[in-house]
């Protein structure tokens, strides 16, 4: 170990001396290597940032990794009530009842019938089915008017533990206060766009409600949903729409329950729903990262292969400079052998120089990438929100260092072998 340490230190010191003595050559080696290492860093950083951004959007829609989601609440009377009773007041589980609502003039066809995004026309309308299973278009024959159709999700608690909706303006639903008669509504960005574009009366209709409601718009969040969507407290909605009707199996609602990874709610709820005949229930654990990584990995591999090619070309440049340098230093290496330097240390000296060159190049490439990312986020950040808060992934830095070291080894290996093989007699015959 001590011998190895002495050899390593000797090779490092002499390597550094060699770099200092041949600054221009080191610089030229770095230039030839720079693009390759930069390509690796950029590909890794790009993939890391894309993964993070994609994951962040995916989390909004499907939930944070590890969250359990219960689907398929049985379409039987009492199932909705059982779900709400089980999760009410619990921080580790939230029931989400989804339904359709129309805000605006009564007796008209909404501007986005079917709940389509406002810049797209899906051309259809939400169907409503009655107790006999017969479905119909509630807007059939109505003239188009100032009304907006949106998907409404009624919540029993703060769902952001499981789906980290990002606040854009206003406030999120306050579950600690007493429920209000005028339901408070938090919109997603698409719904907010509709309310900004169309001036509609504050009158909300939900199928099965005893009367139209006057909603209060209190905030806007980013939820990753391209359709107009609103969030409301379930207990404020049930002031106007009894829970039994809200969760009517023949209605348009659907129920999901988001739960923490380990919660007693799961077995209790499962038992209750099974008792009510729920055979088709399923509980899924969210694992977005793995699914997304499978998709991203292929793309990353393709780009890394291209970056690797550029890196190999750079390493060839280092090899070229290394061979020329060893050729010029024949006497020095022969002399070093004469004073007792082992062949392995001579090879180590050349490798230390190319490895240090690789490391310096990696540091430069990482520095340029970090600065470029910073500049892009500062310049384009205000107009491109997805760039806000983007940070340089450390994994890209590590990849850059590894790429620099690998290129250093590739470029230095042959010159190192040549240096180790220089005969000592060179100094005698000089």
């Amino acid at each position: 170990m001590r011998r190895f340490s002495g050899r390593l230190r000797s090779a490092s010191i002499i390597g550094l001396q060699g770099i200092r003595a041949r600054k221009l050559r080191t610089l030229l080696s770095m230039v030839s290597l720079f693009l390759g290492v930069l390509a690796v860093v950029v590909v890794q950083a790009g993939a890391g940032i894309a993964e993070r951004l994609q994951l962040a959007d995916l989390e909004l829609q499907t939930g944070i990794d590890g969250t359990k989601v219960l689907y398929g609440v049985p379409p039987v009377a009492g199932a909705g009530q059982a779900v709400v009773d089980t999760v009410r007041g619990r921080p580790d589980a939230v029931a989400m009842v989804g339904l359709t609502a129309v805000v605006g003039e009564p007796g008209v066809r909404p501007v986005n019938a079917g709940g389509s995004p406002f810049d797209q026309n899906w051309g259809g309308a939400s169907q409503i089915c009655d107790a006999t299973g017969k479905c119909y278009d509630p807007n059939a024959g109505l003239p188009q008017g100032q009304a907006i159709e949106l998907r409404l999700t009624a919540l029993t608690g703060d769902v952001r533990e499981f789906r980290p909706y990002r606040p854009q303006s206003g406030a999120w639903l306050d579950f600690a206060s007493a429920p209000m008669m005028a339901p408070r509504l938090v919109l997603n960005e698409e719904a907010a766009k509709g309310f900004e574009r169309y001036h509609v009366p504050a009158q909300m209709r939900v199928n099965g409600a005893s009367a139209d409601m006057t909603p209060q718009l209190i905030g806007v969040v980013k939820d990753g949903d391209p359709q107009p969507h609103g969030y409301v407290r379930l207990d404020e909605l049930t002031n106007w729409l009894p829970l039994a009707r809200l969760t009517d199996p023949n209605g348009m609602s659907d129920i999901q329950v988001a739960m923490a990874a380990s919660t007693p709610v799961e077995p209790v709820l499962t038992a209750k729903l099974k008792g009510l005949g729920g055979a088709d229930m399923s509980i899924e654990t969210i694992d977005s990262r793995k699914e997304m990584q499978d998709q991203l990995n292929l793309l990353r591999l393709i780009f890394l292969a291209m970056a690797g090619l550029v890196l190999v070309i750079g390493a060839a440049g280092v090899l070229n400079v290394g061979l020329a340098t060893v050729g010029e230093r024949v006497e020095e290496f022969a002399l070093r052998r004469a004073v007792g330097t082992p062949r392995a240390v001579l090879a180590g000296i050349v490798l230390a120089e190319t490895l240090l060159t690789g490391l310096f190049t990696a540091a430069a490439a990482i520095g340029v990438s970090v600065a470029a990312l910073k500049a892009v986020t500062v310049v384009l950040g205000p107009s491109e929100p997805f760039l806000q808060g983007v940070e340089f992934p450390w994994s890209a830095g590590v990849s850059g260092i590894i790429a620099g070291l690998v290129a250093g080894i590739l470029g230095g290996f042959v010159p190192a072998i040549r240096a180790a093989g220089i005969p000592i007699a060179t100094v005698m015959r000089a």
């Binding site: 002495g6 001396q17 004469a338 004073v339 007792g340 330097t341 082992p342 000592i424 100094v427 005698m428």
Partner: protein, 236 residues
């Protein structure tokens, strides 16, 4: 004085030509600690080859080479490197100083050779002591380009002495110097013998050879001892 080096029947044949050529032909030589030996002979007589064998740069084709009573004729390169570092110091006709390093760094080269590790303070002390020994400690920070030939050769001698070698091998160390400077260099080399280091000097200069304790003449690969009655001038 204890026996340090013993060569017995050393032969070295140069192959790779039409006919193999014998460079060293049964060379016998014994050198004791603190002794100085001049090896003289015409150009091409095999002096440098003999020095290569003595310095473990090359292996003899036959014969025995003993150092401190230990046979080192067939030493693997790994062990030979270790022995070169611990037992031998080399001075060549050309100084072989690295121009990007200072005098002190050039001397330290022999200490930073992967054979053990000395802390910087100890290293510096030994380098300065070696430079002091050859009288150029004041030039420690100078680079070779700012030194005269004699000063550069003394740096090379300091590099050879810095590890306190048992044997100092010098291959025409004054060949590139004027008479006066050459004499100073020989003084510096002989100084080492007072501390028990054996000196083997290959030279063409009769005066320098005459200052050694013994003179051996190498002719056509055969080494013979001479008496101390050389006339002044250069051997050819």
């Amino acid at each position: 004085m204890t026996e340090l080096i013993r060569l017995t029947g050393i032969t070295k044949v140069l192959k790779g030509q039409k006919e193999p050529r014998t460079i060293l032909d049964g060379v016998d030589l014994t050198v004791r600690a603190g002794e100085s030996v001049a090896i003289v002979g015409r150009s091409g007589s095999g002096k440098s080859t003999l020095l290569s064998v003595l310095g473990l740069f090359d292996r003899p084709d036959s014969g025995t080479y003993s150092l401190d009573g230990r046979d080192i004729s067939r030493l693997p390169e790994r062990h030979a490197a270790k022995l070169r570092s611990s037992h031998f110091g080399f001075v060549f006709q050309r100084f072989f100083l690295l121009k990007h390093l200072t005098a002190a760094q050039n001397v330290a080269m022999a200490l930073i050779n992967g054979q053990g590790w000395l802390p910087r303070r100890d290293r510096r002390a030994r380098v300065m002591a070696a430079l002091e020994q050859v009288g150029i400690a004041h030039l420690a920070r100078n680079r070779p380009v700012k030194m005269s030939g004699g000063e550069q050769q003394r740096v090379a001698i300091a590099r050879a002495l810095v590890r306190d070698p048992r044997v100092l091998l010098a291959d025409e160390p004054t060949g590139a110097l004027d008479t006066e400077t050459g004499s100073i260099v020989i003084d510096a080399l002989q100084e080492a013998t007072t501390r028990g280091c054996a000196l083997i000097l290959v030279t063409h200069d009769r005066d320098h050879a005459a200052r050694m304790g013994r003179i051996a003449d190498l002719r056509s690969g055969v080494l013979t001892e001479r008496s101390h009655t050389l006339s002044a001038g250069r051997l050819s």
